[in-house]
């Protein structure tokens, strides 16, 4: 059963993975999957906007370094995640709410496992936040 109001946003490269919402039935949250021509096209603004629009965490997924269809797109994405994290730190949010994941191209299981791990990490933040309240 989905946790009410708990949304995760996955911003990923079109080539990285073809998994769809139904492949993530073991992750009990609302998942928003946005695909880009390359993870190098994912801007810091896209990551921050996803949080503003209600996501509790943003997972940026790109191809393993060296396997990017466009050369170094996923390395670029990783750098942008650092930029977004700096902003989160400045405004008092856990920087890890935006995270970069390199996934094996077209390896659905690898992708799903990384989404599950990210979900657990964000869930921990949420539970700690509830305890503080």
């Amino acid at each position: 059963m989905e946790e009410k109001g708990f949304k995760l946003s996955i911003l990923c490269c079109n080539y990285t993975n073809l998994s769809e919402r139904e492949d993530f039935f073991e992750v009990p949250v609302s998942l928003e999957i946005k695909r880009y021509p390359c993870s190098g096209k994912i801007e810091i603004t896209d990551m921050l906007r996803a949080l503003r629009e209600g996501a509790k965490g943003v997972m940026v997924a790109g191809c393993m370094p060296g396997t990017c269809h466009n050369g170094r797109g996923s390395e670029r994405a990783e750098k942008r995640v650092l930029g977004a994290r700096k902003i989160l730190e400045e405004i008092g949010l856990e920087p890890e709410r935006i995270s970069m994941f390199f996934v094996n191209r077209l390896d659905g299981e690898d992708f799903i496992n990384k989404v599950k791990a990210f979900y657990r990490e964000i869930l921990n933040f949420e539970l700690k936040g509830r305890e503080r309240k």
Binding site: E43, I44, T45, L51, R52, I87, E90
Partner: protein, 230 residues
């Protein structure tokens, strides 16, 4: 170019805490080239402000625009369209742009979104280094093109100092001693005797010691011009 750096978001937020509608205004000049205040940075700062204010429970409307330059009155003309439509402007231009907006549009509340740092060169992607301090009295014709005012930590006119060791600066060990480089270069050119000349004391008035720096070229002024400081 003028190098600038984004101010921390909390500082920007503090300046605009009482407003509900603002404009984040970028500049496609130097600050765009040094990735501090161009279109992309406007979009990032605007979204960071929206996110922070949403989290604070005080959503804000943030408009975004980028002008070709903010250091020329004619390029600031489109700012008139925002008058009365936004409560404040966060400018990502260097201090020149912010000052010119404040001069020309006194009724607009303008706040800096970047700290203006120095005049520098872009050595590689994501790296900028100071090369000039704009002191207004160049001596680099005598120093093989290398400026000791900007690049010596002590601004020495007759270095290297005793702390220069192995070609490194004693103040910043990761920095080369620019006087060491000047001497080495002049030596290689057979021009070391240039340093034996006794220089006139450096004129620091053009560096700002004589008040606001103004440059007027009568051959370019039309219709008598106007007071350059206004």
């Amino acid at each position: 170019m003028i190098i600038a750096e984004r101010r921390p978001i909390p500082e920007i937020l503090r300046n605009i805490e009482n407003y509900q509608k603002i404009l984040v205004l970028g500049c496609r000049g130097c600050v765009a080239i040094c990735s501090a205040g161009g279109d992309r940075e406007v979009s990032i700062v605007a979204e960071a402000i929206r996110l922070a204010r949403t989290l604070q429970g005080k959503p804000i409307e943030v408009l975004e625009d980028t002008f070709i330059r903010q250091c020329d009155p004619e390029y600031l003309e489109p700012l008139k369209d925002y008058q009365g439509k936004v409560e404040a402007v966060v400018s990502l231009a260097c201090g020149v742009g912010v000052n010119l907006i404040a001069d020309l549009y006194p009724e607009i509340r303008v706040y800096p979104g970047v700290d203006t740092s120095f005049y520098g060169a872009n050595l590689s992607l994501g790296e900028w280094v100071e090369k000039c301090r704009g002191c207004g009295d160049c001596i680099i014709d005598r120093t093989a093109g290398l400026c000791p005012i900007a690049r010596c930590a002590k601004n020495l006119l007759n270095g290297p100092c005793g702390g220069s060791q192995g070609g490194r600066c004693e103040v910043r060990k990761d920095m080369p001693c620019i006087w060491h480089e000047i001497v080495e270069r002049l030596k290689a050119r057979g021009e070391l005797e240039k340093l034996l000349e006794i220089w006139e004391p450096k004129d620091w008035r053009p560096a700002g010691g004589d008040g606001l720096r103004v440059r007027v070229r009568e051959d370019l002024r039309l219709n008598g011009g106007k007071k350059p400081w206004r």
